[in-house]
């Protein structure tokens, strides 16, 4: 990858030389590129062909091609469904709150880890913080149930034994929202620090020393050196996150959500699961998927454009 500028220069110099000679010289580099390309074509572009299901009355005995075209009928149906708007709202709401709560968490955590001077304790904390990332959501769901249950959850057992009323962490919609967000932080914050810690190693240590000599305290150093050093990483991650505003993982809301709080916990991914995989209405599920993709693209491009205007940083 580092040879790309080199290639460009060569390309200019050798325009007279035939493409063949050029290719014979650098074919290995192209060969290396083939594998990822194949991956993207087969797994990312190939399936896009299935998008046309959204415009067909999909009958899988006739296949995609054999099914009848129905134009925008399915779109009309989806946009007329109450659950679509409810799940759309919930998706945006949960993602937005997640952005507020879960996005800064790894950043703060990474800075705290970076400031830690005792090496063994730093390593230990990192390991402990990473562990939740490797636990599957299904298991986390079980743990959440045991810990936050109203009837016999650990926390509520303590609360009721000292004479207070149990808090319905999982069955009251607002309490559930807090549970959902905090569990998300617990699960992902530790792992999220990795990318920041990597970026932090790129900051010149001499800057800190110089600032120290000039009399800057710890907070001043964080504010004037660490954070500016992380700026580009933060912006890139923010853009990526904004791109995901409309899409939401299936497992977390599905596992932590329940019927009592469906008003908040039912999101687009669980909606697609229900109408697509469970009810077999592939056309409607595809419509929702396509809608998510288009809106997601708009979000990414918009965030990228804004970011470029404001900070000169972007991903495209």
């Amino acid at each position: 990858m580092a040879s790309s500028p080199h290639l460009n220069r060569l390309h200019k110099e050798e325009t007279a030389v035939s493409w063949n000679a050029y290719f014979r010289r650098y074919w290995q580099l192209y060969a290396l590129l083939v594998l990822p390309l194949i991956y993207f074509i087969i797994f990312k572009y190939g399936p896009m062909y299935g998008i046309i299901i959204a415009f067909k009355d999909f009958n899988f005995f006739q296949g995609i091609v054999g099914s009848e075209w129905i134009g925008f009928e399915a779109f009309k149906e989806v946009f007329g469904m109450r659950d679509f708007y409810l799940t759309l709202r919930n998706t945006l709401m949960l993602n937005f709150l997640d952005l507020l709560v879960s996005f800064p968490a790894p950043l703060i955590l990474a800075i705290m880890l970076y400031e830690m001077k005792v090496q063994w304790f730093k390593k230990l904390s990192q390991t402990v913080l990473y562990i939740p990332h490797f636990i599957s959501w299904v298991i986390i769901g079980g743990i959440v149930y045991q810990v936050f249950g109203t009837q016999s959850g650990m926390i509520n057992n303590v609360i009721t034994s000292i004479g207070f009323d149990a808090i319905p962490f999982l069955t009251d919609k607002n309490d559930w929202l807090a549970t959902y967000l905090l569990v998300g932080v617990w699960q992902s914050a530790g792992w999220g620090t990795i990318i920041y810690l990597a970026a932090l190693t790129g900051i010149n240590k001499e800057l800190f020393e110089a600032a120290g000599i000039d009399g800057a305290g710890r907070l001043k150093r964080i504010w004037h050196i660490t954070l500016p050093g992380l700026k580009s990483t933060i912006v890139v991650l923010l853009i990526i996150n904004l791109g995901h505003m409309i899409s939401i993982g299936f497992e977390r809301p599905y596992v932590i959500g329940n019927l009592a709080v469906r008003e908040y916990s039912d999101v687009l991914s669980t909606f697609v699961y229900r109408i697509g995989l469970q009810s077999g209405q592939y056309t409607l599920a595809t419509v929702v998927g396509l809608f998510q993709a288009v809106v997601g693209l708009v979000f990414v491009l918009g965030a990228n454009y804004t970011s470029k205007k404001l900070t000169d940083e972007g991903i495209m």
Binding site: M1, S4, L7, Y30, L33, L37, I38, F40, I41, I42, Y45, G46, Y49, N59, F60, F61, Q62, G63, I64, V65, G66, M81, R82, D83, Y145, G149, T150, Q151, S152, G153, A166, P168, L170, T171, V236, N258, L259, A260, R262, R274, I275, L277, Q278, S279, G280, Q281, I315, M316
Partner: protein, 542 residues
Amino acid sequence: MIGNKRKNGILGTKKSLLMLGLACSLLFTACSSNSEPNASGGTNTDTGASKERVTLKVEVFDRGNSPVGSTITDNYLTNYIQENFGEPNNIDLEYVPVPRSEEVEKLNVLMASGSNVPDIVFTYDPNTFNRYAKQGGLTDVGPLLDEHAPNLKAFLGDEVLGYGQYQGTQFAVPAKRSNVGKYASFIRQDWLDKLNMPVPQTTEELYETLKAFKEKDPGATGGQVIPMGMTIASAQYEPLLWSFIKPLTDEQKYTLTQQLGSNDYPTLLPGFKDALQFMNKLYNEGLISKDFGLDKDKKKLGEDVATGKVGFYSEDDINPFYENGSYDTLQKNVPGALLHSVDVFTNEEGKHAKPMYAPNGLYIMIPKSSERAVEAIKYLEWMATGDNLFNLQNGIEGENYTMVDDIPVVVENPTEEALNRLYNGGDMIIISNGKQLGSMELNLKARAMQMPAKFKDQVEAAQVIANTDVIPPVLMDRPIEAQTKYGTTLLDKFNEMIVKTTMAKPDQFESVYETMLKDYMASGGQAILDERTAVYKEMQAK
């Protein structure tokens, strides 16, 4: 890192475009060729082919429980069938495993693939059957049954066969259930004894009993008592809900019932609101578990029963009595605990009304693309003929079972070999759900004998209860399309409705109920109601 990606993109643009085009064209050809076999499919009555050796592909559920030395496609039963059915008819049997837990998803993929579809497929899900039939993917087995399967037809009977019809055409062979009883209720007899209370006979008496359980805590649970075990699974709430339903006219029964999945639901039936109100009362007085809405798989309930916290609950009739099941564990945890089968919920007429199973089990189907429809029917016919069913279900006399009073009783401490013979029996003998011994009475007796002997009395009582005052499923003349379409969504809404109305503050019950019902109706409930009303009118006009 990110900058480099961009350059790769520019260098690779031309090539990737080319390859994208190539990939697309490949996909197009692949998919269009998919649909071709269907055209040439259709019914196949090529009887002359029987001389040639052919392969019959049969779906089989894989539960991942094959013992050492067997696989789900090669075991005692597959060999037995190959030997006794395959060889004489010049047929090679090939079994296609489908994971039990994702049967519908996997079956959808198999059917859509066009190639390698088994000749015999099946599902428990009536919606899946209706969808396949509607989309024209199934063979009409009516004429084939008439021609090749007299024993099978006699075994199943017209009622069961009726479940396999789609708009008057026999698109599936439904399996026959050996037992249609569903639910019983259970109470801690030792708690009643301690409180000197009689077994409650009606819903009102039950309410008083539950209150006593709560106040006096006879199990000394230290305030953890759950007088009535509840979950959001049908076995727990259905007996309660249906006992509140008022006597119905035929018209009400046909038009107001909502079939979601394989069960009938009482959402619109008169009395349903009273049932919810009763649930709400129980919840707000602390008589049912606060977290019942989270317990979809009955795991928490099983735990609470086994640790002696639950005083009363409803469940699938013999469910608590398995070896190491909840009653067994309860007795280990709480010495002297007694769990008795009782029939408590009473409706307006004084009956213990509760739902029963439809008389059919699996929907067995032959895809339209299959060229072995005749052999497939012969396969099912062979199973229903003579001793075949009995031998397949019971194994070898002396090693697997001994005959006692016309009932094959499982040999105690059978050899490993004998045990491994029938591990997949339930999934191989697809024409029947449960052991068939010729009559319901014998079937039930045999079922009770499979349970631990120490619980025999309670098992028998539970089976009687499960078959008392049962409400049969309502069978419409033709499938209700709205049910196929909205069933899954509405089942969720139905459960949500129960949870929300039950957990509402008593003064908010009314408004929560109205909101939930409105949402239910708008999400497909109204469509089902309209369609059922229309079909009922057609049925009347006949």
